[in-house]
Symmetry: C2
Subunit: 154 residues, 2 copies
DNA sequence: ATAATTGAGTACTATTCTAGTCCTATTTAA
DNA sequence: TTAAATAGGACTAGAATAGTACTCAATTAT
């Protein structure tokens, strides 16, 4: 189902909360109670986000977490790869081992293309976009979508 | 990692083989031996593709599978959803149950937007595109990618 | 200095999902 | 009627995910 893991989903919830109130640092406990996510789980996610340089942590009393940079500069792609590793639809996109399928490998290049397309799309969406309320069914945006892969061959 | 399942990967391999030679029906056994995928697994995939109306099956001796329509009319999105169910990054995108996260739900609409964007991108790539050889690192296509979601709010 | 607060790191467990296999029924061509 | 082939479902083993717990390290307030 092309799904993100729950942890990634939680991460966006946590980050969007922090983006809305970035005036001071937030302790893990505070975040847990506000979002309703269990504390150990919140901690785990926050640590991953710190490692990915998305958050900055301050230890000790009065410590906590805060965004490492403005919400406009935090892409959804970076959040996803912080939690789930590199964005790659197929196996071969990560490990360059190559597949043993003799006849199938001709499509790998195309998968990489699709992969890149999706990656770029996710790269273009920032945390700031997520915080803003979604437009209701505004059909205009559908026309805006470009289909780069298919048009490659024309 | 935003991964597709192996079965979906196999499915594209199988379908691309069938797209290249759509002159006659292919038995599951034939497909298995050519692609190197185990027969029971191939059968399972083929059945799912038939249910999704992507393939047509003929029973009995001299039976087999063939594409239900031209490769140009088979989108990658339809293949993915045949194997993995509806394309949805987050839980809420499928079940309208709603999330219990009190403060997080404001971003659901935005997830749906991203979701739709990716879905449309995948919808635009067809099996025929996959069969064609991939262009080598032609950087031109990168510029072609449009970032519809972020630009929505400007 | 010392105690309290808070994050860092690691290890562990249970549950869910995925991949893959097998068996039996049904259909059709020869 | 027989052989070839798909249809459908049930089942198992393994891997990945989600969530928890515990101990160490750092900082600040008193």
């Amino acid at each position: 189902m092309l799904r993100l893991s729950k942890l990634t989903d939680y991460a966006t919830v946590i980050l969007s909360f922090m983006a809305r109130d970035n005036s001071h640092v937030h302790a893990a406990m505070e975040i847990a109670s506000i979002t309703g996510i269990a504390l150990p789980t919140v901690s785990k996610i926050l640590k991953l986000l710190v490692n990915a340089k998305i958050l900055i942590s301050t230890r000790g009393a009065k410590g906590g977490y805060e965004l490492a940079r403005a919400a406009e500069k935090i892409s959804i792609a970076s959040v996803i790869s912080a939690l789930e590793g590199p964005i790659a639809l197929t196996e071969c996109s990560i490990s360059q081992q190559g597949c043993e399928q003799a006849s199938g490998c001709e499509i790998r290049g195309n998968w990489n293309l699709i992969n890149q397309t999706i990656h770029n799309a996710l790269e273009s969406v920032t945390l700031a976009d997520m915080v803003r309320p979604a437009r209701s069914q505004d059909l205009a945006w559908k026309q805006e979508i470009l289909i780069p892969v298919a048009s490659l061959y024309r």
